[in-house]
């Protein structure tokens, strides 16, 4: 599993102090290819909204075999009839202390023909600091052993992170 620059920048930002000004600002590239100015910490006095929004648990499947780079910002070649899974289609497996493992499973319902999955991405949502609109950014992109699916089949994508 390859952690992308978007995730590395945000996790690094967690450790920066934010006591004055607008907090720490990052330029992150969203899945639409645009770069947005975002902040880890909410502006002082901004009690009504977080910089993160609820539609965080998203995965997407695709059919590209282009090698992964940390600069990837979207899936290589998505199945047009298999959109991103939604929040409601994801199950929080929780954190297992004994194994030091975080697990999350998302269900994708395909509506088109058969295909072969070769890549998956996991995304999260953060608001840009100027419009407060939620933007989708990917944190992981991974090539997988090709997996065939048949028309209309539901697909489970499970992520595990070990600490």
């Amino acid at each position: 599993m390859v952690a992308l620059d978007n995730l590395g920048l945000l996790l690094a930002g967690i450790f920066r102090n934010a006591s004055t000004g607008n907090g720490q600002v990052f330029n992150l590239k969203a899945t639409n290819g645009a770069v947005y100015s975002t902040r880890i910490y909410a502006t002082q006095g901004d009690t009504n909204r977080s910089n993160f929004d609820g539609a965080l648990r998203q995965v997407q499947i695709g059919k590209s075999s282009t090698p992964v780079t940390r600069q990837d910002f979207k899936i290589g070649d998505p199945f047009p009839d298999s959109p991103e899974s939604s929040l409601n289609n994801c199950i929080d497996g929780g954190y297992n202390s004994g194994l030091g493992k975080i697990s999350q499973t998302c269900l994708i319902s395909t509506t088109g023909g058969a295909g072969t999955i070769t890549e998956v991405i996991k995304a999260f949502r953060i608001r840009d600091q100027f419009t407060q609109s939620g933007r989708t950014l990917i944190m992981f992109r991974d090539l997988i052993t090709p997996e065939n699916f048949i028309a209309g089949e539901s697909i489970n994508v499970e992520y595990e992170v070990l600490i």
Binding site: F15, R16, T47, R70
Partner: protein, 219 residues
């Protein structure tokens, strides 16, 4: 004793290259003892501690091979990556508190209640680190941190901190804390994310510079 090879670095200049060199030593040892950490893409935190005078290293030590990130970090990361509304973490006093990950109100990252970010502590405790730790075993001093840098090429986050010692003591443990807001009544507290036993222990003499460099490795 683990990490004895680091003693060869005493007398060197403390700079960025030294940190990378020590990490390389650590990683090579780690890979031999715990190859599964790399085969399964564990994230990993390491802590390098030095004391310096005029940038020359006087004493050096590093986290031990079997140190683990705490449950607090696992729960937080699960919420951060998974869109979970609230996670229950143990603050430095040992109390359990709810941290709102997103939504309206006093979220973990809301500065309404005061300054937020991170903190590094050093101590002289020797109790073995566990995932359930919420504080150092024997706290000695806090070091200002609040710095986090992402190295894309190496896939790691650097979190350095330093301070001038006002007394002489021994460092045998370090801790990295998130300084975050818990809810519903907004209040800032320290949350231990990584506690590390340091080997060899680092001897501090008053007026020396204490340097702690945490690195989080994202494979």
């Amino acid at each position: 004793m683990e990490n004895q090879i680091l003693l060869e670095k005493v007398g060197n200049t403390k700079n960025k290259k030294l940190i990378d060199d020590c990490y390389k030593i650590y990683k090579e040892k780690l890979f031999k003892q715990y190859p599964e950490y790399f085969e399964t893409n564990h994230s990993k935190m390491v802590s390098l501690v030095t004391t310096t005078e005029n940038f020359e290293i006087k004493s050096i030590g590093m986290s031990c091979l079997n140190d683990l990130l705490t449950d607090n970090w696992g729960k937080f990361l699960n919420g951060f990556m998974g869109g979970i509304t609230s996670v229950n973490l143990k603050i430095i006093s040992g109390l359990d508190k709810d941290f709102l990950m997103w939504g309206s109100g006093s979220t973990w990252n809301n500065r309404q209640a005061g300054a937020v970010g991170s903190l590094i502590q050093v101590g002289s405790g020797t109790v073995t680190a566990t995932r359930q730790d919420f504080a150092l075993a024997n706290f000695v001093a806090s070091l200002s941190s609040g710095v986090g840098g992402w190295n894309s090429g190496l896939g790691k986050i650097d979190i350095p901190a330093n301070a001038i010692a006002t007394s002489s003591f021994t460092i045998s443990e370090t801790g990295l804390f998130g300084v975050w807001v818990h809810s519903p009544a907004p209040a800032v507290d320290n949350v231990l994310l990584s506690r590390d036993n340091i080997s060899p222990v680092v001897n501090v003499i008053s007026a020396q510079s204490i340097n702690v460099d945490y690195q989080m490795l994202l494979n």
